[in-house]
């Protein structure tokens, strides 16, 4: 039995996570080779596997299934391996083991989620993804990134807990851990839906994405853009296809972020909002649920991972070589970074669904499916969003980074490995745009969709080019909103601002309560009690003896003398035994007779 066939029998998720643990042991070229080999091996493992359930481990009463392979999971497995490879090529020159370990653990988690056949392993890999991705944000090692990472992990813990609650209720209701198609009825399905929705960044649960991704490292953002949201897309497609709620959530999800993207200054934040917009298309497609719509969603996810990674790579390269990433600080870079500029334009054309690029052959299936099902308002919203995407991602991103006003920055092209990664991604975008059939052949449903019809090409070109005309006229007339250094409030205002007020309010109340209690109980009451205990016995005895002494006609002086003797004796505890015993006997008999 040769070594390689042994590895293929491992779930690719464990290959990545195990590999992540071994990375720090290697150095230099061996490390690079090892990291490049892992995604290739994982890809190979998936191509080798025919549909079915593999790697089933019976644990207690349930079965853990680590290898649920069918057309849907295989496509996502392929693209996750490809983008991991691209990300590693992009990051090769970065000397930071933390990022590589985190990236591989993260990718491994995503593969685990994709191939999980039971809810427990799903949850475990889900949480591995959340934790590992946080490190990609923390790895930037700035104060802002630490704060963003904290907010990120808190949101994902919340989502994970919702998912866990739903899972537990699901297992309790059905008695099995295997999952598949689910309908939105019963609290378990709603909780699972909510948990996945957090990762999919469905508004209003989306701000973590636009908050955290711009704070990630240059290479980290490339990985982040690929896995969390797309594994959520996979799960939604697996569990909730045809859910009508998703159609509307998806349509709204395509519309809201483009307004923000137009206003934002940080280029990577624009890309983050653009990501939410694109995932909205996928959610909408899942909601429609027909064969064409699901095909559209899956192919869109495939293409989107590629061109989004490309765009984040371009933005990351600019950030790497110039140290700047805001529109206000950039411009005129086409002069010294022509290759990066070209790759960015390819990515921009792909995301806009320009003919001859990958977005055109994938996104249009979803819009077509909406039309087939006569969903008029949804179709109008999706077309609006398509025009909007061209505006903020197709035009704004390359324009303000590479053209626009000349910022005076004359930076060189990024290192060769970054250019190579971008070149491969751009090449794939163009290849799939021109010849989509390799992609079509791995889609879950049979494809009889023809993207390149005259009507479709002309229609799309009109939509995009006249949108570009609008951009030109608005810029020339000065009506276009200027880029300025500011932030825009999003749904996270509720927990970032309101949350602070709530915290301060409860802090004031609870702290003053604390202080009052301390004053009353800790200081006054206990010290008073102690003093009473000290002198109490003596006072009682003197009180009893005073009338006796008066009748015995003791003088004032004698009485005082006796009192102080009693006080001293009782305080020092030097009471003669007989008196103590007599006292105790009286007390006990008193209690006995009067209880």
């Amino acid at each position: 039995m040769d070594q390689l066939s042994l590895i293929i029998r491992f779930p690719p998720a464990l290959l990545f996570i195990g590999g992540a643990l071994l990375i720090p042991l290697f150095k230099g070229k061996i490390k690079s080779g090892f990291m490049l080999a892992l995604p290739v091996l994982a890809f190979w493992a998936i191509t080798d596997a025919a549909s079915g359930s593999y790697w089933v481990f019976p644990v207690l009463d349930y079965d853990l299934v680590l290898g649920r392979v069918d057309a849907l999971s295989r496509v996502f497995g392929y693209i996750f391996c490809i983008v991991t490879f691209l990300g590693v090529v992009f990051a090769l020159n970065i000397d930071d083991d933390l990022q590589f370990c985190a990236a591989f653990a993260y990718a491994g988690g995503a593969l685990g989620v994709t191939f999980a056949g039971d809810v427990f392993s799903l949850y475990i890999f889900w949480e591995i993804m959340a934790v590992a991705s946080t490190f990609l944000i923390l790895a930037r090692r700035t104060r802002a990134s630490q704060a963003a990472a904290m907010r990120y992990i808190l949101v994902h813990i919340f989502g994970g807990l919702c998912l866990l609650a739903g899972i537990i209720l699901y297992v309790q209701r059905t008695g099995t851990t295997q999952f598949g198609l689910m309908h939105l009825s019963g609290i378990d399905s709603y909780l699972i839906f909510l948990g996945i929705a957090v990762n999919a960044a469905i508004p209003p649960l989306h701000p973590w994405l636009s908050d955290a991704y711009p704070e990630a490292t240059v290479a980290g953002a490339v990985f982040l853009s690929a896995f969390t949201t797309k594994s959520a897309v996979y799960l939604m497609a697996r569990m909730f296809p045809g859910t009508e709620l998703l159609i509307w959530l998806g349509a709204v999800m395509t519309a809201i972020p483009i307004f923000y993207a137009v206003l934002e200054n940080d280029i990577r934040r624009v890309l983050a909002y653009s990501l939410i917009n694109q995932v909205g298309f996928m959610m909408c497609g899942i909601g429609i649920g027909t064969a064409l719509a699901i095909n559209g969603t899956v192919s869109h996810a495939f293409c989107h991972i590629l061109y989004k990674a490309l765009l984040f790579m371009a933005a990351g390269s600019v950030l790497q070589v110039t140290g700047k990433i805001r529109c206000t600080d950039l411009g005129g870079l086409y002069k010294t970074m022509p290759l990066t500029c070209l790759f960015c334009i390819v990515g921009a054309a792909s995301i806009s669904a320009f003919p001859l690029f990958s977005g055109f052959v994938s996104k249009s299936m979803i819009i077509s499916a909406a039309a087939h099902n006569k969903l008029i308002i949804v179709w109008l919203m999706l077309q609006f969003a398509s025009a909007g995407v061209f505006h903020h991602a197709g035009i704004k991103v390359p324009f303000f980074m590479f053209f626009g006003h000349d910022s005076g920055i004359r930076a060189k092209e990024p290192p060769l490995n970054m250019l190579l990664a971008m070149a491969i991604a751009a090449g794939l975008c163009v290849f799939l745009g021109v010849y989509p059939y390799p992609l079509y052949s791995i889609l879950p449903n049979p494809v009889d969709y023809i993207p390149y019809t005259a009507a479709h090409v002309v229609g799309q070109l009109q939509l995009l080019m006249f949108g570009a005309l609008a951009f030109c006229l608005l810029i020339l007339s000065g009506f276009y909103p200027a880029e300025m250094r500011a932030i825009n409030l999003d749904a996270d205002w509720f927990y970032r601002r309101l949350g602070v007020y709530f915290y301060r309010f409860s802090e004031t109340i609870l702290n003053s309560l604390n202080q009052t209690c301390e004053r009353i109980f800790a200081k006054k009451l206990t010290s008073n009690l102690a003093t009473q205990m000290e002198n109490g016995a003596a006072r009682l005895v003197i009180l009893l003896m005073l009338p006796v002494w008066k009748t015995m006609n003791f003088s004032e002086e004698r009485r005082t003398q006796l009192s102080s003797r009693i006080e001293t004796t009782l305080r020092d505890g030097a009471v003669p035994i007989g008196i103590s015993v007599a006292g105790a006997a009286i007390l006990l008999s008193g209690l006995f007779f009067f209880h």
Partner: protein, 80 residues
């Protein structure tokens, strides 16, 4: 020393670029009546529908974005 590319610094080049751009727009407008659209919706067959929709969408987008900005814009250090 690399010679600086002054591609778009040159006003003639910008003019050329815009000329090609407007030319493409005109071509798209003219070709529209000759394309058979088998659209799902009746209004797709209206000539220049997509051109108009794209233009109006973008203008509307910017318009709404500007209004939105008035409500949600804050200083960069708002949350700190």
């Amino acid at each position: 020393m690399k010679k600086e590319l002054t591609l778009f610094d040159n006003p003639r080049n910008v003019k050329r670029f815009l000329f090609i751009f407007y030319g493409c727009l005109l071509a798209l407008l003219l070709i529209d009546p000759f394309i058979h659209k088998h659209g799902e919706f009746a209004w797709e067959d209206v000539p220049e529908f997509y051109a108009a929709y794209g233009f109006v969408s973008c203008v509307l987008l910017i318009f709404i974005a500007k209004i939105l900005r008035r409500w949600i814009k804050r200083d960069e250090n708002y949350y700190d």
